[in-house]
C-alpha cells in the first residue's frame, strides 16, 4: 500500500547482513536447481514449523483477501503443510560449501491485522467472522450516498496499544485519507486509510530465533502502523479463481472491518527471519488482545517485499512483492524460492528480467508466479477524507493505554530466562499467551519451574493435542498441577505414580491429593515396611541372591525391579535402593 512507498522513500543505511546465502555457480539451469530447492524447503520448513504458531482455524472456500485472485484448494494446502510439519530435519541446508558469488536478500513485510472489535471501523455493524453473507451491512459500509462514517473508539485504542507494544511514536494528531481504486469488493470506490500521518511510526519488534535454526536475538524496525478498513469478499462463480469465472458474488460483511497495517523496515535478510518476525507480530497481537491473528481465516495477512543484492552493496535490487502465503512456513518457503529465482537470473546475466511486480505464492506447486507487472505506476489519488475529523490524542490517554499493556512476549522471554529455563523451553512456553499464563499460574502456586515446564510441554500438551482442547478448557487447573508437583517434590508420590494418576486429574479436575489418597498411592517411605518387602523378595529369590553374593552384582537391577513390583510401584525408589544394597551386601 501507500506505506510500501513510504518505506522505500525512507530507506536508510541497513544493519549488516546476518545471513548470507551462497549460490552455487554450477547450477545454471532451472532443472539443476530444482532438487536443491526441494531439499532446502524441507529443511527450512521443518524449522519454521517447530516454532510455528498459527493455530488450526476454520476454513472458508472464499478468498479471505480480495487481492488474491488465484486460489488453490485449501485441502491441498493443508496436506502440504502436514507433510512439512512431519519433517523432523533440524539442520538447514545452505549449500555452505558451494562456490560462487554471495548475495543477500533484503526483505520488508507489510502485515494486515483484523481487529477484534465488536463493530466495524466506521459504522455500528457487527464485525464478527462467519456470519451469513451480507448479514452485517448498512448504508455506510455499503457505500450508499448521503451517509457519514464515524470512527470506532476501539480502533484508536487498539492502534495506540499495538503502537506502544511496538515501541513506536504515537501521533497526537493523525488523519484519514481516501485511497481510490475500483474493484467490486470496495463499494465506495475508495478505501478509508491513513496515508501520510499514521497513528504510530518508528518502532521495533524483538525476536528470538529458534534454537534449532541457530538461535539469536534480533531487532527489526517498524516503519509505521496505520488504521484502515478492510474490503468485502468475492467469490468467483464458475471457477475457483478469477480467470475462467463467469461472474462474481460479493459478500460485504467484511467491508469496513477495521485493520491495522504494520509496515516493517527492510531489515530481514532470510526467510526464517521474515517468518519469525511475522510469528512474533502474531504473538504480540494476541498478547495484546487486539486481534486473533489467524492466518488461515485471513485475519492476519502478510505481503513480503524482497530484493536481492550482492553482499556488501548498499543499493537495493529491484523489489518484488509476494502475496498469498497463509502460514509462516509458506512465507519462509516463498522467500527462499524467490531469492533463488532472482539469484539465478542475476548469475545468468539476466538480472534485467527481475522486474517490479507482484507475484503469488502457489502452495501446491511450491513456487511464485507473476500476478501482475507494474506497468504504469499505480495511482491511488490519495486525498484527506473529508467526512472524518482528525484523530486527536493526548498524553494522558496514551499513558492510560500504556498502563493496560500486558507483559509482552519479549519481556516474558527475558523473565523466563532469569528463571533458568532454556531458550528452547522459553520459546515453546511463550508462544501461546494462554500456555504462558497457565505456566505463570502454576509458578505462582509454588510449582517448581523446570518441573512445571516439563509437565506442561510434555504430558499436558500431548493430552490437549489428542483431545483437541485448548489449555483454557483444561480441567486440571494450575493450582492442582502445582499441588501434584509439590507431592512429587516432597516425596509423597513418585514421578511414576504422578504420571499414572495424571489421566484422572485431566479428566476429573479433582485435587491431586484426593486421588492419591483415594487410590492408596502414597509413596511408601517407611523404612520398616520397605525392609520387610526386601526381605520377602530376597527369600523368594535365594538362588539369585547367592549368585549376587558370588560376584554377579549386575543382578542388583533385578532385585530393584522385584521390590518395585511387590510394592505396586509405590515404594520410594531412592530409599529402597539404599536399603536394598545394605541387605544384599549384608
Amino acid at each position: 500500500m501507500a506505506s510500501a512507498r513510504l518505506v522505500r522513500a525512507t530507506m536508510v543505511a541497513l544493519p549488516s547482513a546476518v545471513c548470507v546465502y551462497r549460490c552455487s555457480s554450477g547450477s545454471n539451469s532451472a532443472s539443476a536447481l530444482r532438487p536443491a530447492f526441494h531439499r532446502r524447503f524441507v529443511a527450512v520448513s521443518a524449522c519454521a514449523s517447530a516454532e510455528g504458531s498459527s493455530p488450526a482455524g476454520g476454513f472458508t472456500n472464499n478468498s479471505p483477501q480480495p487481492v488474491s485472485s488465484v486460489r488453490i484448494s485449501r485441502k491441498q494446502q493443508r496436506a502440504q503443510s502436514a507433510r512439512v510439519v512431519s519433517q523432523q530435519s533440524s539442520t538447514r541446508v545452505t549449500e555452505e560449501n558451494a562456490g560462487g558469488s554471495e548475495y543477500e536478500a533484503v526483505i520488508g513485510i507489510e502485515t494486515h491485522v483484523q481487529l477484534a472489535t465488536a463493530t466495524k471501523a466506521f459504522c455500528s455493524c457487527p464485525s464478527q467472522y462467519g456470519s451469513e453473507p451480507n448479514a452485517n451491512v448498512c448504508p455506510i459500509c455499503m457505500g450508499l450516498p448521503g451517509c457519514l462514517p464515524v470512527l470506532n473508539e476501539k480502533c484508536v485504542e487498539f492502534g495506540v496499544r499495538l503502537g506502544l507494544a511496538l515501541h513506536s511514536d504515537i501521533a497526537l494528531k493523525s488523519k484519514f485519507d481516501r485511497k481510490q481504486y475500483f474493484y467490486p469488493d470496495l463499494p465506495k470506490g475508495y478505501q478509508i486509510s491513513q496515508f501520510d500521518i499514521p497513528i504510530a511510526s518508528n518502532g521495533f519488534l524483538e525476536v528470538d530465533l529458534p534454537v534449532e535454526c541457530g538461535g539469536g536475538h534480533k531487532r527489526f524496525g517498524i516503519t509505521r502502523v496505520h488504521m484502515e478498513e478492510d474490503a468485502g469478499k468475492l467469490i468467483h462463480a464458475g471457477a475457483d479463481q478469477l480467470s475462467g469465472s463467469t461472474h462474481s458474488q460479493v459478500d460485504l460483511n467484511r467491508a469496513g472491518v477495521p485493520l491495522l497495517e504494520i509496515v516493517s523496515e527492510p531489515d530481514m535478510r532470510t526467510g526464517l527471519e521474515a517468518a519469525e518476525y511475522a510469528a512474533e507480530l502474531q504473538r504480540t497481537v494476541r498478547y495484546l488482545g487486539v486481534g486473533n491473528g489467524n492466518m488461515q481465516e485471513g485475519s492476519m495477512r502478510c505481503d513480503v517485499n524482497i530484493s536481492v543484492r550482492p553482499k556488501g552493496r548498499a543499493q537495493f535490487g529491484t523489489k518484488v512483492e509476494i502475496k498469498n502465503m497463509n502460514s509462516f512456513s509458506a512465507m519462509q518457503r516463498a522467500i527462499e524460492y524467490e531469492f533463488e529465482r532472482q539469484v539465478q537470473l542475476i548469475d545468468e546475466g539476466e538480472g534485467d528480467k527481475i522486474v517490479q511486480e507482484t507475484r503469488l505464492w502457489e502452495e501446491a506447486a511450491q513456487r511464485t508466479t507473476t500476478m501482475r507487472k507494474k506497468e504504469g505506476l499505480a495511482d491511488y489519488r490519495y486525498f484527506p477524507e473529508p467526512d472524518l475529523p482528525e484523530v486527536i490524542l493526548n498524553e494522558e490517554y496514551i499513558e492510560s493505554v500504556r498502563a493496560t499493556l500486558p507483559e509482552l512476549p519479549n519481556e516474558k522471554r527475558r523473565r523466563y530466562e532469569t528463571l533458568g529455563l532454556s531458550m528452547q523451553d522459553i520459546l515453546v512456553l511463550t508462544n501461546d499467551i494462554d500456555v504462558a499464563a497457565y505456566f505463570d499460574a502454576v509458578l505462582e502456586k509454588g510449582g517448581d519451574v523446570k518441573m512445571a515446564a516439563n509437565w506442561i510441554m510434555g504430558d499436558i500438551t500431548a493430552y490437549l493435542k489428542n483431545e483437541k482442547q485448548s489449555i483454557t478448557e483444561l480441567k486440571l487447573t494450575p493450582p492442582t498441577l502445582a499441588e501434584l508437583i509439590g507431592l512429587i517434590k516432597d516425596g509423597t508420590i513418585s514421578g511414576k505414580i504422578a504420571k499414572e494418576i495424571l489421566p484422572e486429574l485431566l479428566e476429573s479436575g479433582a485435587s491431586a491429593k484426593s486421588i492419591v489418597e483415594k487410590k492408596g498411592l502414597l509413596q511408601i517411605s517407611d523404612v520398616a515396611t520397605i525392609e520387610k518387602m526386601i526381605d520377602e523378595v530376597l527369600e523368594k529369590n535365594s538362588s539369585q541372591l547367592e549368585a549376587y553374593r558370588g560376584g554377579k552384582t549386575k543382578l542388583q537391577g533385578f532385585f530393584v525391579g522385584q521390590v518395585m513390583k511387590a510394592s505396586g510401584g509405590k515404594v520410594n525408589p531412592a530409599l529402597m535402593n539404599k536399603l536394598l544394597i545394605e541387605k544384599l551386601n549384608g
Binding site: 512507498r5 455493524c125 448498512c138 470506532n152 486525498f383 484527506p384 493526548n394
Partner: protein
C-alpha cells in the same frame, strides 16, 4: 490493494490536480522556501490531463467532450491557484479543516443491526442467494 509505486508518482498525479503550493502530502513537511518562492512567482498550475483523469475515474468522455471540458477545468484550477499567493510562513499546518475534539468524534464499539437491511438488500440490482452478483471481473481491474 497494494500496488506499490513510488510515492512520488502518486503524488505527482495528485499534485497535478492541485495548486503546487498546497501541500498535498504531509502538512508537517513544509515546502522549502526556495521552491515556494519560485512557484509563487509564476502563479501557474499545470492543468490536468483530462483523458488520463477520465481513465482513472472510469468515466468515458468523447474527444469533443474533452475539448469542451478542458478549458472549464483549467479555469477552476486557476481559480484555486490563487491560494498560491497566500503567505503561510510561520503558520502551523492544519491537518484537517475544522478539527473537532477527539473524544466527541468517536463512537462506542457497540453493535447495532441496521433495521432497513432487508430493504437495502432488496434494492440491489442483481442478487444470487444471499450475495450481490456482479459481472465478470476484467483482468485489467485486478487490484
Amino acid at each position: 490493494m497494494m500496488a506499490s509505486s513510488s510515492s512520488s508518482a502518486a503524488l505527482l498525479a495528485h499534485a497535478r490536480l492541485l495548486p503546487r503550493r498546497l501541500p498535498p502530502l504531509s502538512p508537517f513537511v513544509r515546502p522549502c522556501s526556495a521552491s515556494s518562492a519560485s512557484s509563487s512567482s509564476t502563479r501557474q498550475v499545470e492543468p490536468p490531463n483530462l483523458a488520463q483523469l477520465c481513465d482513472k475515474a472510469r468515466i468515458s468522455l468523447s474527444a469533443k467532450e474533452i475539448e469542451e471540458f478542458s478549458p472549464q477545468i483549467s479555469k477552476v484550477v486557476d481559480w484555486f491557484a490563487q491560494l498560491q499567493d497566500v503567505d503561510v510562513e510561520n503558520i502551523e499546518p492544519a491537518i484537517r479543516v475544522g478539527a473537532l475534539d477527539g473524544k466527541s468524534a468517536l463512537r462506542a464499539d457497540t453493535p447495532v443491526i441496521f433495521e432497513e437491511r432487508e430493504t437495502m438488500i432488496a434494492s440491489l440490482p442483481d442478487r444470487e442467494g444471499p450475495y450481490m452478483r456482479v459481472p465478470k471481473i476484467l483482468k485489467e481491474n485486478v487490484e
